[in-house]
């Protein structure tokens, strides 16, 4: 029962596994990046959900509110999201250039071409 | 006075090293290049004699170049075994150079500059080994020696040469890095120092099992001593030009090996500890087996250089046995055998090279009757053979005598038997060669080709100098005996 | 006064919810992409409008909140046609053919296209 109460961890774990699975199982480079994004997002949720204070509200300062959730994880994850976007953008830029020079964005094709080149 | 000794010690390593630069600079002019080689050789010899003199005058010193880690230094000292080794090497380098000039020109060899360069580098390394004040310094120069002789072994550049070179480097590097270095580190860990100290450096608290293991690691790790089963590099290196074989067998490489064995026995373990270790006996048998097996294998070789190579493996076994007997006489005999074997074996290789250059023959079965065309060469071969066997009137007599005495001292009768049997085998595989050269007993005229003459004069001069040394060592062994007999207790002379 | 505002809110929110769900049902029921766009339009226009409208009665005197609700509504109504149009145009350029007239009766055919 206590396991069910910590449902946020289960969501994080499921998301993480989904992301990880996509990264590993898909040969398409864009899909891999999508998987990577999901993988990262799961961690964002982990942080945010652990910043939750029982009975606390969103940490936006306002009069008459005593209990806020912990704002620090939000701040941290804001940074992490920016980093994540940068990573995804860079990854996509790489995929564009890979597609230009290999003519494919399928892992198997690229691997095959590299092996032939060696 | 001290300063000049220090300077001599520096110069004896620096001169060959400077010769390397000189050889590179004069590489385009063979005469100049070989002049540099010879001059450097003579200077080194003079320096070695100078150091010997000063040693006799009672000068003792240790020079530290730098300290790598606390207590771990690169330093050099004067000590009788090292001086003996330096004298042998210093004497044989100019002679070998002289011989090499004749040989290399006669053979129209390629890459001669690289050859002389590496040769000089090897001598510099030998001097480093000889004067090392601690095991660490010795190890460094030991490795430099390996690396600098590799290009000499593969000199021909053929596939066979490369293969031989790989075996050479592979065995020497593997043994030295896996076992020698580990033994060195283990010694450092147990004793906290690597300095060569008369009587050894291990504290009484060091566990016997560990020290005994270290001894095994040392004997196996010093691959240059060619104790079976790590002897394969020596026959493999036979692909090298003859002067190189001479360098490897007589002057530098193998001698550095057995020198290290003697050094480790006396100054790392100390004879008392060495005699008491449980593994000493087994290693003694291993060395004995090495002596015997090498002699048997030598008998079966038709290629002269191969036969000489296995002969070397056997003779090195004698010296290792001498060290492991852990007696004064054993060390003395072993050290003297370094000198005796050096002069004898270098003569034999010079002869083999001379025969190859003059008669283009390398197989023993083709050498019947060769004595008529090359009498001087074959006579020298005969005398040098006597020295290897240990018969008068050659220097080999004394060293073998001391070794025999040492086996009696230590009551190692099995080893005594092995040494006697091996000497018999030496006779069987060496003496027939000059005998059949002069007396081809089936009476057939094997050689009728008139163009075969004696070897080129430089070679001939070189090999007769060494033969005379073999003989002189019988009559006047004093310099080497004085050094060899004081290795253990370090008695000062001239005081 | 409060009761009246609450009542207005209830009505607007319920109606908004109704249109929201109806729009979504249309999104599911309609036979092809172009017809589904009309259903989506229901959600975007009146669904969103009524819900935001309903919220406007609950601002409790905070005029900033009112303004924000208005700007959200304004923004949705301004941008929703633009994105719909862009989507439709892209679909047309990629050879998505709208089902016309009686073709919509044959659902199987539509699904396969």
């Amino acid at each position: 029962m206590s396991y069910l109460l910590q449902y946020n961890y289960w969501i994080v774990m499921v998301l993480m596994m989904i992301g990880f699975y996509i990264v590993i199982s898909h040969g398409n480079l864009v899909k891999k990046l999508l998987g990577l994004s999901i993988f990262q997002t799961s961690v964002f949720i982990l942080y945010i959900s652990m910043g939750k204070v029982e009975g606390g509200t969103a940490p936006i300062l306002d009069e008459g509110i005593v209990l806020y959730s912990n704002p620090l994880p939000h701040v941290l994850i804001l940074t992490a999201i920016v980093v994540g976007i940068a990573t995804t953008a860079l990854g996509l830029a790489l995929v564009v250039r890979i597609s230009e020079s290999y003519g494919s964005i399928e892992e198997d094709d690229i691997q095959k071409m590299d092996n032939e080149q060696c | 006075m001290n300063l000049s000794t220090e300077l001599l010690l520096l110069l004896i390593m620096l001169v060959p090293a400077l010769a390397v630069i000189g050889i590179i600079l004069t590489g385009r002019s063979p005469n100049l290049r070989e002049g540099v080689t010879l001059a450097a050789g003579l200077i080194v010899l003079a320096l070695a004699i100078g150091i010997y003199q000063q040693y006799l005058d009672g000068i003792r010193l240790t020079v530290t170049w730098f300290e790598l880690l606390p207590g771990l230094t690169v330093s050099f000292h004067l000590e009788s075994l090292g001086i003996l080794f330096a004298l042998v090497a210093g004497f044989l380098w100019p002679i070998t150079s002289l011989y090499a000039i004749g040989y290399m020109r006669g053979h129209h060899e390629q890459n001669q500059t690289r050859f002389y360069l590496c040769f000089a580098l090897a001598i510099a390394a030998v001097m480093g080994v000889a004067f090392s004040a601690n095991l660490f310094t010795l190890f460094i120069f030991y490795e430099v020696l390996t690396l600098s002789t590799y290009p000499l072994v593969t000199h021909a550049g053929t596939e066979k040469a490369k293969l031989g070179g790989r075996t050479y480097l592979g065995i020497l590097m593997t043994t030295s890095i896996l076992f020698f270095l580990l033994a060195l580190l283990g010694t450092w860990y147990q004793a906290g120092t690597l300095d060569f100290v008369a009587g050894g450096i291990f504290p009484a608290s060091a566990p016997t099992a560990v020290v005994a293991t270290l001894l095994v690691l040392f004997i196996l790790g010093i691959g240059k001593a060619a104790v079976m089963p790590f002897h394969r590099w020596l026959p493999a290196a036979m692909v090298a030009p003859t002067p190189v074989s001479a360098l490897l067998h007589a002057v530098a490489v193998v001698k550095a090996g057995v020198f290290t064995v003697l050094k480790v026995a006396v100054f790392i373990f100390g004879l008392d500890l060495l005699g008491s270790l449980p593994t000493t006996q087994w290693l003694l048998y291993l060395a004995g087996a090495s002596v015997l097996l090498a002699s048997f294998v030598a008998m079966r070789q038709d290629n002269l250089k191969a036969r000489l190579a296995y002969s070397t493996v056997g003779q090195l076994g004698y010296i290792t046995v001498g060290a492991l007997l852990a007696t004064q006489a054993g060390i003395t005999g072993g050290a003297m055998h370094i000198a005796a074997h050096a002069f004898a074996k270098i003569t034999l290789f010079f002869c083999a090279g001379a025969i190859l250059v003059a008669a283009h023959k390398s197989e023993i079965s083709d050498m019947r009757g060769l004595g008529r065309q090359m009498p001087l060469t074959m006579l020298a071969f005969f005398i040098a053979s006597l020295a290897i066997i240990g018969l008068p009137p050659t220097g080999g007599t004394w060293s073998k005598w001391f070794l025999i005495m040492a086996t009696l001292d230590a009551e190692q009768f099995v080893i005594l038997g092995i040494l006697m049997l091996s000497s018999l085998l030496n006779i069987v595989y060496l003496l027939p060669i000059p005998y059949r050269a002069f007396f081809p007993h089936d009476g057939k005229p094997v050689w009728v080709l008139s163009e075969i003459k004696e070897a080129p004069p430089p070679s001939l001069i070189a090999l007769w100098i060494t033969v005379i040394c073999c003989l002189a060592l019988f009559v006047y062994p004093q310099p080497f005996y004085l050094l060899a007999s004081t290795i253990v207790d370090g008695v000062h002379y001239g005081q | 006064m409060t009761v009246l505002l609450d009542l207005l809110s209830w009505v607007a929110l319920l109606l908004g919810s109704f249109f929201l769900i109806v729009g979504s049902v249309g999104l599911l029921r309609f036979p092809d992409f172009f017809t589904r766009m009309h259903a989506a339009g229901v959600t975007d226009s009146l669904g969103a409008g009524l819900i935001l409208f309903g919220l406007m009665f609950q601002v409790d005197g905070q005029w900033i909140v009112l303004f924000k609700l208005l700007s959200i509504l304004f923004f949705i109504w301004l941008t929703s046609p633009a994105s719909s149009h862009a989507l439709a145009k892209a679909a047309l350029h990629h050879n998505q053919q709208p089902l016309l007239g009686d073709e919509v009766r044959n659902r199987k055919q539509a699904a396969n296209e």
Binding site: D62 | - | S24, A40, S83, A86
Partner: protein
């Protein structure tokens, strides 16, 4: 507390979101999916707004506004990508 108008609306929005997600899954064409996601975006904006009132934190409206903006930009970006890729296909 009873049933508040906001919770009823929230449930309605969630139900309609599920329907939209169903369409996104079913497709069949890419445009159907984009359409569904677009609608989903609008509904998310509404959900955030209503949740703000439900929780007594109307400050959430800022987030809703921001979300609407991002939703719009992302859809336009996606469409630009389609236009771009279609013109390239025509070149070939």
């Amino acid at each position: 507390m009873g049933i508040s108008m906001f919770s009823v609306t929230t449930v309605a929005i969630l139900v309609s979101m599920i329907l939209a997600i169903t369409r996104a899954f079913l497709g069949p064409s890419l445009y159907d999916r984009v359409l569904a996601i677009n609608v989903l975006g609008t509904k998310t904006v509404l959900l955030i707004a209503v949740l703000g009132f439900l929780m007594g934190r109307p400050e959430f409206l800022d987030i809703a506004l921001l979300y609407a903006l991002i939703n719009f930009i992302s859809i336009i970006g996606l469409m630009r990508f389609f236009e771009y890729s279609s013109s390239r296909q025509e070149e070939k």
